[in-house]
């Protein structure tokens, strides 16, 4: 982390670095968060359901966490449900709303670029007899709120559109979609796993009924996530057991992870403005540099309405898995939407949804920056990436 930027490159080793640019996949735990967790094994290990002092101590930490995260999104503490992962939160949102509102109707609307946990949950509900409508997106991955309005019917119970896309970083017009849903009396869920802690979220102002947040995407530990459920929303649990988390998520609460999540949220909230400003500058430098230095490079996602830390490019005549492997050899960690990198050998559904033909989706590269990304690292990537693209094109039958 911090060490990376301090390390002086040895002349002989100048080619091998250790640069992490995959913060969209997972983040380091902030050392300040780690420090705050040091007393947990001995002091706050109790079960939050226990009545004795150990239980009460753990419970106090849990409630403190709830308050911190509620503050981050302008919600009430009672509206925050802790879960084990963003995948679980999204499953709870879709399946929990579907099962509790079946009497009203069985129609759900989602965007075509949702994370697979929303996409697959919707697909599963489809198999259970619910009807799923999938919105269209434009070439930047933007949902048109007018289409949401058009698709809402009398039997629509839920609209789920993510706040910011995990691959291409596009930020959706959540506030407008939320307003439409509120006016129509339809619940609105947004998956904010990629955006929480990075850009401002106000669930009241944005008319959000349900919101998913993830600890491990914002410098907290893995194993903690949340679902904001606005007061008065009709929702059923998908797990059954004890009465934890207001009956919505029965299981002994993982208090250390949850508290780490909250602490991470506290720092994100405090430092958001400064941090996003810094990341935006680095992001734009990378985008500009890649465009200037590499021919046949096209930015995926919206040029302005995008996460401050997301860069996603498509390179002509480049296959993504080979590109990631070459970058890895040079010490740069990144990701791709190429089919060859996936188990199913299918290109990313997000890239296909924005209109890229399969052969074009193979050459995508995602760089996601984070708290410890430095200008030096950005320069290194700008130096190495053009060479790698050249090498790969050199052995390709498509070379010009």
């Amino acid at each position: 982390m911090a060490k990376i930027s301090e390390k002086k490159p040895n002349k002989n080793q100048a080619r091998r670095q250790n640069i992490y640019m995959d913060y969209g996949a997972a983040t380091h735990v902030d050392p300040r968060v780690l420090k705050s967790l040091s007393r947990f094994p001995s002091e706050f290990f109790g079960n939050t359901m226990s009545l004795h002092s150990f239980g009460r101590k753990a419970k106090a930490k849990l409630e403190e966490s709830r308050e911190i995260l509620a503050d981050l999104i302008n919600a009430e503490p009672r509206e925050i449900i802790f879960t084990g992962s963003a995948t679980e939160s999204n499953n709870l949102a879709l399946k929990g709303i579907a099962s509790a509102n079946r009497q009203k109707g069985g129609h759900i609307i989602i965007s075509p670029i949702e994370h697979s946990c929303v996409k697959e949950s919707a697909g599963w509900l489809e198999g259970q007899g619910f009807e799923i409508s999938r919105l269209k997106v434009d070439e930047y991955g933007l949902v048109d709120p007018r289409e949401v309005k058009k698709l809402i019917r009398k039997d629509t119970i839920l609209v789920s559109v993510m706040h910011a896309n995990n691959e291409i970083g596009t930020i959706e017009p959540i506030e407008e979609i939320g307003k439409i849903c509120r006016n129509k009396g339809v619940y609105f869920h947004t998956d904010a796993a990629q955006s929480l802690g990075k850009i401002p979220i106000d669930v009241k102002k944005m008319n959000i009924d349900l919101l998913t947040g993830s600890s491990q995407k914002m410098y907290g530990p893995k194993g903690a996530a949340c679902l904001f459920v606005r007061k008065g929303i009709k929702i059923n649990p998908i797990l059954h057991g004890g009465g934890q988390e207001f009956g919505l998520r029965p299981a002994t609460v993982n208090v250390p992870a949850v508290y780490g999540f909250a602490k991470a949220g506290l720092f994100c909230g405090k430092e958001m403005r400064k941090e996003s400003e810094k990341l935006r500058k680095l992001r734009d430098k990378l985008i500009k540099g890649i465009k200037a230095k590499i021919s046949g490079a096209f930015l995926n996602g919206h040029p302005q309405k995008r996460l401050p830390n997301n860069i996603n490019f498509r390179f002509e005549f480049i296959e993504g898995e080979a590109l990631i492997a070459k970058l890895d050899i040079k010490g740069i960690a990144a990701s791709t939407g190429s089919a060859c990198s996936s188990e199913k050998l299918q290109p990313s559904h997000v890239l296909l949804a924005i209109g890229l033909a399969p052969q074009k989706a193979h050459g995508s590269l995602r760089l996601t920056l984070g708290r410890w990304t430095t200008d030096k690292e950005v320069n290194y990537v700008l130096e190495v990436l053009p060479e790698i693209i050249k090498e790969l094109r050199e052995i390709s039958p498509f070379k010009k």
Binding site: E319, A322, D328, A357, Q359, I395, F398, K399
Partner: protein
């Protein structure tokens, strides 16, 4: 991914591919795969005669668009085929290529198949254009590859045309 997904041999071929580039005045050229699926492999062969007057692959080069496994398989087959008689080179199987790489992940085995197909196509091109006798199994393989190609072309017509234009320009 590359460190535990692929063997060291695969990564070595990928890092420093052998025999890549175009072979001018090749006696046979074989192109297989398509960019929609993410792999296009082209092999060039130069044929000579050995002391027994048998046809030998004197030189071989590849050009590949594709993933780590596709590039490594291309590089590996050039090593395996170089210097061999055409007859014995055509016996190089996808398993033989994968073995020479210390194994390939199951999901990537089709890359080694692509390499052996490319060599078969290059051999076919050489035999056909020199009006030589084509062994029946090579003829059958060629037919199968052409059939597969036509099926893909039908499926992705527009892109294939674009791809052909780019390749023809080169």
């Amino acid at each position: 991914m590359p460190n535990n997904f692929y063997t060291k041999k695969v990564m070595n071929h990928f890092k420093k591919p052998h025999n890549y580039g175009r072979l001018e005045k090749a006696d046979g050229v074989g192109t297989v795969g398509n960019a929609v699926c993410g792999d296009v492999m082209r092999l060039y062969i130069k044929i000579g005669l050995d002391k027994k007057k048998q046809e030998v692959i004197k030189d071989i080069k590849f050009e590949t668009f594709g993933c780590v496994a596709a590039i490594a398989s291309s590089s590996a087959i050039t090593d395996l085929a170089k210097g061999k008689t055409l007859k014995s080179a055509l016996k190089i199987s996808k398993a033989g290529i994968a073995d020479s790489l210390g194994g390939l992940p199951p999901v990537k085995m089709h890359c080694s198949l692509l390499a052996s197909d490319a060599l078969a196509e290059a051999a076919y091109d050489y035999l056909f254009s020199n009006k030589k006798e084509i062994p029946s199994d090579l003829e059958a393989k060629h037919k199968q590859i052409s059939k597969d190609r036509k099926r893909t072309e039908k499926k992705y017509k527009d892109w294939m045309e674009e791809q052909k234009k780019i390749m023809d320009k080169n």
